[in-house]
């Protein structure tokens, strides 16, 4: 099911099933890799983790390696599938765009009550930057991990500079991956982002939320009746300069000017949306 508006349910399809599968395959295997990666350090005995019920195996490095390999298999397949499949289809909505850095500052400030958010696409500018960062970290993890795996099986006497480079690249990327994971969880904890959370479980988010926060995305679906078309950089910059309502968007996608809280604004929007959308049927794009 591709992106479309389900007006009578006040929902909009944000992710296809394949994207949900990719996300959760990478998330669950990534989490397992983090945990077993930590257990590959000699910490389980020292920090009494082995005494935690169910974690008696945590000091057995070979058991951890089993799980690490199994998770790495899923992680690598899902990661490469994601890059190649979406690259092949030209789906580049998550790729960073010019001006994302400045836009991220504006958005992050607005999350803490300083200024207002500009109208946004399907993905927030900081999401696009975080995505690029995560892709780089994952590539380093996968490549260095493959070198280490090859060494474990076939070449224990591999050239020392190669082994040391792979080891330290893996260790540093592991720390960055852990920090990125914490940042990801931190972003979810921010109230304005809460409505997005259901999207990564069900593939759908509330239409009223999308209208007030991702108005450029909703506009594109409504007007073009096609999957997301990213605006050119110039248009994005203009949007940042003047967070005004695009003419074609109509009143429903107006930014929350003078709102008290995002929740209040969403509530108001919801009332308006229902008024207008009652007559609308499901709109495939």
């Amino acid at each position: 099911m591709s992106e479309k508006i389900l007006a009578e349910k006040n929902l909009i399809v944000r992710h296809r099933t394949i994207e949900l599968v990719e996300h959760w395959a990478i998330a669950i295997s990534g989490l397992l890799l983090l945990v077993t990666g930590i257990f590959e350090l000699p910490v389980a005995k020292r920090y009494y983790i082995i005494n935690v019920p169910g974690l008696g195996w945590s000091a057995d490095f070979i058991t951890s390696l089993y799980i690490h390999y199994a998770a790495a298999l899923v992680f690598t397949v899902a990661g490469i599938f994601h890059l190649v499949y979406h690259g092949f289809r030209g789906e580049a909505g998550l790729m960073p765009q010019k001006g994302d850095m400045a836009a991220s500052v504006v958005v992050i400030k607005s999350l803490f009550g300083f200024g207002e958010e500009p109208p946004m696409h399907k993905y927030l500018p900081e999401q696009r930057l975080a995505y690029a960062g995560m892709v780089i970290i994952m590539i380093v993890l996968v490549v260095s991990g493959l070198v280490k795996t090859y060494k474990n099986i076939y070449a224990p006497d591999m050239s020392l500079p190669v082994v040391l480079t792979a080891t330290w690249a893996h260790n540093i990327a592991f720390i960055l991956f852990f920090l990125a994971f914490l940042a990801h969880m931190g972003a979810i904890a921010l109230r304005p982002n809460w409505p997005m959370v259901r999207g990564i479980f069900t593939g759908r988010v509330r239409l009223d939320y999308a209208r007030h926060r991702h108005s450029l995305w909703v506009d594109e679906i409504e007007t073009a009746k096609s999957p997301v078309r990213e605006l050119p950089a110039k248009e994005t910059e203009d949007a940042l300069q003047s967070p005004a309502v695009p003419e074609e968007a109509g009143p429903d996608s107006r930014m929350a000017e003078g709102r008290d809280t995002p929740a209040d604004e969403t509530k108001n929007q919801l009332t308006d949306d229902r008024g207008q959308n009652d007559a609308e049927k499901e709109k495939p794009t």
Partner: protein, 334 residues
């Protein structure tokens, strides 16, 4: 870069150094081993020849090893930082003279085993040190690659990179590496929370090998019970000796194969049964599986995973394109 340069210098000057060393000491690696400095070496320990140097206070091999490595460990921090939360500190700095077990200051010891062989009492002396496994889990699983298997078979720990977590000791079937707390890089990071010293063990005198010289223990053995040479030659020699004495070999299959072959006229089951395993005094279990081998099939699947990912993406891409073109075809026909 530095190690590459070192390696190149070593290669270039290997024969020259070896020849000089031969002239000076009269003791160098066998010619076949010299001809290929990157070739895999192996050692042979003939238990029918080792008498434990009973006429000496300390066996010659132990004495030579201690002498070569006497300045290896730097000064130990005083006081040694207390690790948190488990407060294990291993300090051998005041017991450097211990020679009847493995310690951070003693990389080889001679195990004395009393057995009853066919009704007669026998004493067997067994020099014990790192076996230098062919695929050593201690090295492959080290989280910082501080422990490394060299091309010449020597498994050596770089004390400047080791955090002393003792993971290598945990995965070694013989628990060979020994920890000295209060030294090493961990002192400069988070000594209370991460690391606990440096692990030490025999490195087959790798520095000496690179210069074409014999490991200290082999050079010092007065009965030539210890030998070193190209792996294949040593394996053949061990087999010949075992056949001649109707004896047994230990180390060829254990833990997936090692670069240390013991040849004994007494079965190793019998020797092992007479041993009492204690810290720093390993036993000689005759069935020693390389546990990491069990993970190899899954590891091979990981190596294939990029291809699997590409294939899945190609297949899925083809399906979705086909689906879209079918949809478009339907639209056109309407």
């Amino acid at each position: 870069m530095k190690s590459r340069m070192k390696s190149e210098i070593s290669r270039r000057s290997f024969l020259r150094i070896a020849a000089s060393a031969a002239a000076l000491t009269g003791v160098t690696l066998p010619r076949a081993a010299q001809a290929d400095p990157d070739g895999r070496l192996s050692t042979l320990i003939d238990l029918s020849l080792c008498d434990g140097c009973v006429d000496r206070k300390i066996p010659a091999c132990v004495s030579a090893c201690k002498s070569i490595n006497k300045n290896k460990i730097p000064a130990v921090a005083d006081p040694i930082p207390e690790p948190w939360p488990r407060k294990t500190i291993e300090d051998w700095s005041k017991k450097k003279s211990v020679t009847d077990r493995l310690t951070p200051y003693n990389f080889i010891y001679v195990q004395k085993v009393e057995i009853n062989d066919g009704g007669s009492e026998k004493t067997v002396f067994i020099p014990r040190r790192c076996m230098h496994c062919d695929n050593p889990p201690c090295a492959t699983i080290c989280p910082f690659s501080a422990n490394h298997k060299n091309k010449n078979s020597a498994v050596a720990i770089n004390q400047n990179q080791c955090f002393g977590g003792a993971k290598c000791k945990d995965v070694c079937p013989w628990e060979i590496p020994q920890r000295q707390s209060g030294v090493g890089i961990y002192l400069h990071v988070l000594p209370g929370f991460m690391g606990n010293g440096v692990m030490y063990k025999c490195d087959l005198c790798n520095d000496r090998l690179e210069k074409g010289r014999l490991p200290g223990c082999i050079e010092a053995c007065p009965r030539q019970a210890l030998l070193i040479g190209p792996k294949k030659d040593i394996e053949e020699k061990a087999q010949r000796r075992a056949t001649a004495m109707k004896g047994y070999i230990y180390g060829k299959e254990e833990n997936g194969g090692t670069a240390t072959l013991y040849v004994s006229p007494v079965p190793f089951e019998k020797l092992n049964a007479a041993m009492v395993k204690k810290p720093g005094q390993p036993d000689m279990q005759t069935i020693v599986k390389r546990r990491m081998k069990e993970t190899d099939p899954l590891g091979k699947a990981v190596l294939a995973s990029p291809v699997l990912g590409l294939a899945a993406a190609g297949l899925m891409g083809w399906f979705s394109k086909r689906k879209e073109s079918l949809k478009e075809g339907k639209k056109d026909s309407v």
